[in-house]
Symmetry: C2
Subunit: 368 residues, 2 copies
């Protein structure tokens, strides 16, 4: 079989793309992945021997519910909660259950989590599917966020797709299938016609916002159309995170979130006091995160992304090796055993922020 076949692209296209794939190895298994989307293949597309796993498509966003939502859908819309964690695709390849991150890298920690989900039956009957979802919870090596009832880390399915073509199952079929196999899912918040969604969404978003949740993903019932919209809490959370490491996060990352707040404030017709409250919370997310970082460096500390993970000791070692392989500097801050599991708190050291803050505190002149 030609290497191009599982990807559904021509031999010629594949030859042009061949050099764009990065070769990696996971636990004795060789694979290749595409770090950026190209020529109709999604970012994160993986090749292992004769099997391809398509990357998860980027979900477009609207800054206004009306007319952003009705413009994009011409039939009923399933509104599901967008969870704040990291995107993982789980597939059964070469007899092994593997979990891939967004960019198509096999993550040992997520793979270990997937192994514990009890989804052998799912893949036995549906070997051609990729189970796509969000990995959430506070003990999370990438994006930690608290959710009620999630003490450590958990998987929530939001899609089932043909692993090679990337074709999604219809929403109801996917939800039924996950339920059948006991796979936890993202909450379904309703299925409405587009105009009804426009009416319902502000209250849904405000309720999610009050609980510090991220937002919604809207889908056409065939699963093909996707659109996201997020809460003020999500924007603020992202800003607080970015400004806790101000010299490591992109200016565009910050700018986009500020813009979202402005459009939401106008569309939600914030009262003067609500708008002032939104502004105050926004200012605090920005300034207090930065002053914390400056004070940490000033007092001799190190800033970075702090994470806690829990699990089998060997898996955690593989995770740290995996993160270091990607060029990250990992500092283990705490390493203990709890209830027979290893629990490690570590820091991903973000060099630019530590260096720049130190430099400016030392009185280095800014020429701008």
């Amino acid at each position: 079989m030609g290497e191009h076949e599982p990807l559904g692209v021509s031999r010629e296209t594949f030859e042009e793309l061949r050099d764009e794939f990065t070769e990696r190895r996971y636990d004795g298994l060789e694979y290749r992945h595409l770090s950026d989307g190209r020529r109709g293949l999604e970012r994160g597309t993986v090749l292992i021997a004769d099997t391809a796993v398509q990357g998860f498509p980027k979900v477009p966003r609207t800054l206004v519910i009306d007319p952003g939502v009705p413009d994009r859908f011409d039939g009923p819309i399933a509104v599901e909660e967008k969870l704040n964690g990291y995107n993982a695709r789980i597939a059964r390849v070469e007899g092994r259950t593997l979990a891939f991150t967004r960019s198509g890298i096999v993550c040992p920690y997520t793979t270990w989590l997937a192994d514990g989900l009890g989804i052998e039956g799912f893949f036995e009957h549906n070997p051609e599917y990729a189970l796509c979802g969000e990995v959430i919870g506070p003990e999370n090596p990438y994006t930690a966020h608290d959710y009620p009832g999630v003490d450590s880390i958990a998987f929530r399915a939001f899609d089932v797709r043909d692993r090679e073509t990337g074709e999604p199952l219809p929403v109801r079929e996917r939800r039924d299938l996950c339920e059948e196999y006991g796979i936890p899912q993202t909450p379904l918040l309703g299925i409405h016609e587009p105009r009804e969604t426009v009416r319902e969404l502000p209250a849904i978003v405000e309720a999610l916002d009050e609980e510090g949740r991220e937002g919604v993903v809207m889908k056409s019932l065939d699963g093909a159309g996707q659109l996201k919209y997020t809460t003020s809490a999500a924007h603020r959370g992202d800003l607080a995170f970015a400004f806790s490491l101000p010299f490591d996060y992109g200016r565009d990352f910050v700018f986009r979130r500020l813009i979202r707040e402005a459009f939401q404030s106008v569309e939600f017709e914030d009262s003067a006091s609500t708008r002032e409250e939104r502004a105050r919370a926004l200012g605090e997310a920005i300034l207090l995160s930065m002053t914390d970082a400056v004070e940490t460096v000033e007092s001799g500390g190190t800033v970075g992304e702090r994470h806690t993970v829990r699990g089998d000791s060997g898996v955690l070692e593989s995770l740290f090796e995996h993160l270091r392989d990607q060029g990250l500097t990992i500092e283990i801050e705490e390493d203990r055993r709890e209830d027979g599991e290893r629990v490690v708190t570590f820091l991903k050291r973000t060099q630019s922020t530590n260096d720049k803050i130190r430099t400016y505190l030392d009185g280095t002149i800014v020429r701008e």
Copy 2:
């Protein structure tokens, strides 16, 4: 005389730079200017016939008073107020008094203002000098800001330099010279040793901040060393301006001002409530400016930089022609006569912000 001589660079360097100069014409006079600093020549350097006028050097900034200030000076420091307007150099060339903006363009409005300063005597005795200063006040075609006692527009000298070499006069000599010729100057806030400046500066900056003023420029007494430090009010003002036209102002412009606030809050040891107040004001500067812009476009209006200018009708026509020559779209919003002068309010239309806000309000999807 070789063209390179007035610039103080070698013939070879000048030949390499020749193509970097832009040719322009002002009222029958041909001149060339350098839009970016290169090879030891400052941005804004001008050549008119055999005369050169050096650009005004960029003033470096420190994010922390201590040790930023003492590190840069080894003797007494003159602290002068940094005014919020636009930088102008006035020189007497080919028998005419001309005013150049930062980038070295002759501005007809500023030249008219300079003509009214009564500085013929100054140039008669000091033809080789360039008089450098800030043009301030509310009726200002570039950077409008209110100052007590300035109803329309005014000039405040902050430097006198050899126009060709750019060599500055010592601070006291410059201030005496300006006083002698009745030229209004930026306020001198004190002359202190470096350690004393470190002690005095926070109170000076806080007092300026309370009056909504911009900050200070510190100079070594020989005029050569320069360093600036700005108030929270200035940072907020810049942010409010940038976010009133969010898609036309650079992400870096915004980011730098946010960073300044964080370092100042830490160095000034803001109490928890002062820091919260700073955060709230910052958030309002950002969000309320953006929501205003979104609402203006939503209700069919146009956003842009709005300015009012007052003066001789022909001069104002020259100013508008001058601005249009630079690629700006000028919309005259109000044009009236008052006390024998023409008073025009105009909008510099900023296309990106108008277009992008309209696009997003129309529900255009964001792929990011």
